[in-house]
Each structure stands twice: as structure tokens, then as C-alpha cells.
């Protein structure tokens, strides 16, 4: 790399884009994921460096430990930063059923949350389990998106069961280590399930991933997310800004798709 390029400001690639929305970010302790905690200030600073205007946030606590406690924490932060944070409500598997649905109802109806998720499914509790399907039905009822960490098979079956739900498939369908190119399967699945959107944050940096997703489902169903502060937002942003796709498609992915989905 040339010296001039090395000296470039961090968010140089994003300067031509505005109103970027991160559809997948977290707040609260990251240590349950086995990594160091990141202060909220550093989280915000990293978003600023990338030119990210608004972040859809859920607390790790609400996804993995206690829905009400975690959602309450999300609410407090969103109230302090209403111009930056868009609160999503989540619920851990152990609290599914009526208790979990009540927690989501409280967050959406009383606290004004704009989405559901990230909800963490696994091989033992897949997305097409009746408990999760009930969450998707709740999202459809409220006309809000639901961000799901799931693999493509259960996601396809759940999407068919609740076609009115707007499902944001987190990590472009990767992360459960099911097979060697999970996103390839997720892209194929999304092609035939119009209510599934591909949210792109993942540790995997496979060249061509974004181009393949756009080619298969159109840029209107590809969504920018970062998983910050687990992952580094600059890395996820570079996938979109460097992808060999039209600039208009990058704008859809980074901004307009989520504006539309969230009715902003």
C-alpha cells in the first residue's frame, strides 16, 4: 500500500455515504461471548469513525440471560441517545413462551422498541420451533422486523409459516458452523423466501459474498450490520464499500433498506 493510502482517515471509504444504519449492534457486557467488554463510548466512537448514523441495538443480556433486565438496559441507553440508537427487544430461549412474549409486548407497546432480536437459535432450538414462530408472529403483528441468528433450513421453514414477518437473517446465515459455506445456502434460501433479508455481519470475509447476495436477491434485501462491539464495524463496512456492485445498491444496503423497514 502506498504511504498516502496508509495515511488515509479511517472512515474515508464511507464518506460518500450518509444516513448509514447498522441493523445489528449490541450493548451491555460482551464477556458472556468470551471477549473483553467494550465501553459504550468506544462503541459510539467506532460508529462515528465509520459514518454510521444510527444503530439498532439489543443487549447481550436480553438475548442470553434475562429479557426484562436486558431490554430495560437497552431502553435506558436508547432514551439517552434517541438520535443514535434504535432499540430492539430480545428474549433468551429459556424464557420463551408466554413470559417471553409478554416481555416483547412490554418493550414494543410500552417502551416503543422498533424491532425484535437478535434472537439466538441453535441446532437444539431452531427457528421453526413453535416458541420462536410465536415470536415471528408477534413481529408480524407489530409490523416490525425481527433479527434472527439461525441457519437457513429452519429459517426457510419459519419464513413459510409466517410470511408476513420481516426476517433479517443475521450473519448472512453463518455462525452455527453447520457446513463449509453456510452463506451460499442462505443466499439460495432467501432467493425463494421474499420475507427473508440477508444481514451481512460475520467474521467471514469471503470475497464475492456481497456480490452473490445482491445478484440473487437484489440489493433491496441485503442489509448492513456490524455485530459491534463483538466485531469491528470498519471491517463490515469495508465489505459493502469495496464490493463490486453499483453505488446505488450500496446506498440501499447501507441506508435506505432499513429506513424503509423501520418506517423512519
Amino acid at each position: 500500500m502506498t504511504a498516502a493510502a496508509l495515511a488515509a482517515p479511517p472512515a474515508r471509504a464511507a464518506q460518500s455515504f450518509s444516513n448509514i444504519i447498522d441493523a445489528h449492534a449490541h450493548v451491555g457486557a460482551m464477556s458472556p461471548m468470551g471477549v473483553r467488554d467494550v465501553s459504550f463510548d468506544r462503541f459510539l466512537e467506532a460508529a462515528d469513525q465509520c459514518g454510521i448514523s444510527r444503530m439498532c441495538i439489543s443487549s447481550i443480556g436480553s438475548t442470553m440471560y434475562d429479557a426484562d433486565e436486558g431490554n430495560r438496559f437497552t431502553r435506558e441507553l436508547a432514551q439517552k441517545h434517541p438520535d443514535r440508537l434504535i432499540p430492539f427487544a430480545s428474549v433468551p430461549y429459556a424464557q420463551l413462551g408466554q413470559k417471553g412474549l409478554d416481555a416483547i409486548e412490554r418493550a414494543v407497546e410500552s417502551w416503543g422498541f422498533r424491532g425484535i432480536g437478535e434472537i439466538m437459535t441453535d441446532h437444539s432450538d431452531p427457528l421453526d420451533h413453535p416458541y420462536w414462530v410465536a415470536v415471528l408472529e408477534k413481529a408480524a403483528q407489530y409490523k416490525i422486523p425481527v433479527l434472527v441468528h439461525a441457519n437457513s433450513g429452519p429459517c426457510a421453514r419459519a419464513a413459510q409459516q409466517v410470511p408476513e414477518a420481516t426476517i433479517l437473517l443475521a450473519h448472512i446465515g453463518t455462525g452455527l458452523g453447520e457446513f463449509q459455506a453456510e452463506w451460499v445456502d442462505a443466499i439460495l434460501m432467501a432467493k425463494s423466501h421474499p420475507n427473508v433479508y440477508l444481514e451481512i455481519c460475520t467474521s467471514i470475509l469471503a470475497d464475492g459474498m456481497i456480490e452473490d447476495a445482491v445478484s440473487a436477491v437484489g440489493a433491496g434485501r441485503v442489509i448492513f450490520g456490524t455485530d459491534s462491539p463483538l466485531l469491528d464495524p470498519s471491517v463490515q463496512l469495508a465489505k459493502i464499500t469495496s464490493a463490486e456492485i453499483p453505488e446505488d445498491d450500496k446506498i440501499r444496503i447501507l441506508s435506505t433498506n432499513m429506513h424503509r423497514i423501520l418506517n423512519l
Binding site: M1, G34, V35, R42, S203, L205, A206, D212
Partner: protein
């Protein structure tokens, strides 16, 4: 800038659009990468010796490519020593080992012969927890890596394929083994490069991108958000790689 962790040749796991040599070079240029250390994928997934010789020939023909070879211990230790000396004479600058793909352990006699010969020839050795960042790919046991780097303290090892889940192990190993450096192509955690540089300094960290299998821009972005002096930036971007490969 040198991508210390590039590849050359077809990719067997999914369609990768820039694996043709001309497209790879275009991708490098687009991202400001002047040179790439390459290992032929055929040496991992097909005829290892034939593929290594192709990589050596490709690098002889184009100075932007720096050849590493991948060794597969399906021959005797004595034969392996002879092969490694030939590779070195033909311009090989280092070795990559993928025991997780070639079904051997680093503690086997022939593997130890490879490491001892690398020491004798002054060739750095790259060991990768995973070949590139993808959860479903075979992994190399970290305990096996730790044992090897401690048994061969005069070999310069570069560890690769480490993500946030391996960071504590990597840090502990680097704390106790000064012959270990790390490349960044799978470090996806929040400000991961900043963290590892803060802990170990810039001299033991190398820019790697996994070109052309991974988006190079993602790893360039890691460099751009890391606060570094000009000297440290140059060391990570290329200086450390040149030093390890004897290209200074």
C-alpha cells in the same frame, strides 16, 4: 504493503471470483497491496509438490508474488529435507503447514524434521488455526501449535487464522514464546489489531489479508482504524514481513 497471507490457485469450498492470477493481481492493485506472499492451494488440496513448483515459477515470473510452499509429509524425512533445500534454492521464502488438512500431527517425526530443516534453512513457518476465517473449516489444535513453537524456539513462527475466540491463547503464547508473530487476516474482533499491537508492539504483527479469497479491503480497514506511528505502520504493512523473509 505486503499481504503476508495470500493464496494462489482455485478454491475448493465455494466460488471465489478473483482466483485467476490476473484477477488476483487486479484485486491487489485496487486495494493498494503491492506484493502478496502466496501459497498454492493445490499444495493443500491436490498434488503438493507440483503446485509448489507452479507457485515458485509464478513468483519468478512476477515480482509481486512471493512464494511460500506448503509441505505434505507423505515422504520420508530424508526426502523432505532434500525437497525443502530444492525449494529454497528456487526462491522459496517460507513454509506453511496445514496438518488439519493433511491429516498429521506436528509432533510426528517427519513434521519435526520439517521444522528442524526450516530452522536450518532460515525459513519462517506459518501455522494456521483455520486456513481462512470460516467457522466450518477444519481447525488445528492450539495445544499442538503451542508445543511445536516451544520445541523449536529458533524457528520464526507466524500464527494465522486466529479470531476473537483464540485471542487469549494467542496472547499467552506470544507472552512466553518470542519466536512467535501473528498475522491479522482473521482477527475480526472489535479493534483487535489495536489490542494486539498495544500488547506486543508492532514488530510481531504482520498485515495479512487472505487475498484473493477474502475481501482485502476488510483487512486494509483494520489497519486504517488502528492508531499507529508511521514507523509502526510500515513495520506491520511490510517491514516485518521483509525481515522474516530475509528481503531487507
Amino acid at each position: 504493503m505486503i499481504d503476508f497471507y495470500g493464496f494462489y490457485g482455485p478454491w475448493p469450498y465455494w466460488n471465489s471470483p478473483h482466483t485467476a492470477p490476473s484477477r488476483m493481481l487486479q484485486l491487489m492493485a485496487k486495494n493498494g497491496i503491492e506484493q502478496a506472499v502466496i501459497c498454492h492451494t493445490g499444495a493443500i488440496f491436490d498434488d503438493w509438490d507440483k503446485a509448489n513448483n507452479e507457485a515458485l515459477a509464478a513468483a519468478q515470473a512476477d515480482h509481486r508474488l512471493i512464494p511460500f510452499v506448503c509441505l505434505n509429509p507423505v515422504i520420508s524425512g530424508e526426502q523432505m529435507v532434500a525437497v525443502m533445500k530444492t525449494y529454497k534454492q528456487r526462491g522459496c521464502r517460507g513454509i506453511r503447514l496445514y496438518p488439519q488438512h493433511h491429516h498429521y500431527r506436528l509432533s510426528e517425526p517427519v513434521a519435526e524434521t520439517m521444522l528442524a530443516t526450516a530452522e536450518q534453512l532460515g525459513l519462517p513457518v506459518v501455522l494456521s488455526v483455520r486456513i481462512i476465517m470460516q467457522w466450518g473449516l477444519p481447525t488445528l489444535d492450539t495445544g499442538e501449535i503451542s508445543a511445536a513453537v516451544r520445541k523449536f524456539p529458533k524457528v520464526q513462527f507466524v500464527l494465522s487464522g486466529t479470531n476473537y475466540g483464540e485471542s487469549r491463547w494467542l496472547y499467552e503464547l506470544m507472552d512466553s514464546a518470542p519466536n512467535v508473530s501473528a498475522e491479522i487476516s482473521a482477527m475480526e474482533g472489535f479493534r483487535a489489531v489495536q489490542e494486539v499491537v498495544a500488547r506486543f508492539g508492532a514488530k510481531r504483527i504482520l498485515f495479512g489479508a487472505g487475498t484473493p479469497l477474502q475481501y482485502p479491503a476488510c483487512n486494509v480497514a483494520k489497519m486504517n482504524v488502528t492508531q499507529l506511528s508511521a514507523d509502526d505502520r510500515e513495520a506491520i504493512a511490510s517491514g516485518n514481513a521483509r525481515r522474516l523473509m530475509g528481503l531487507l
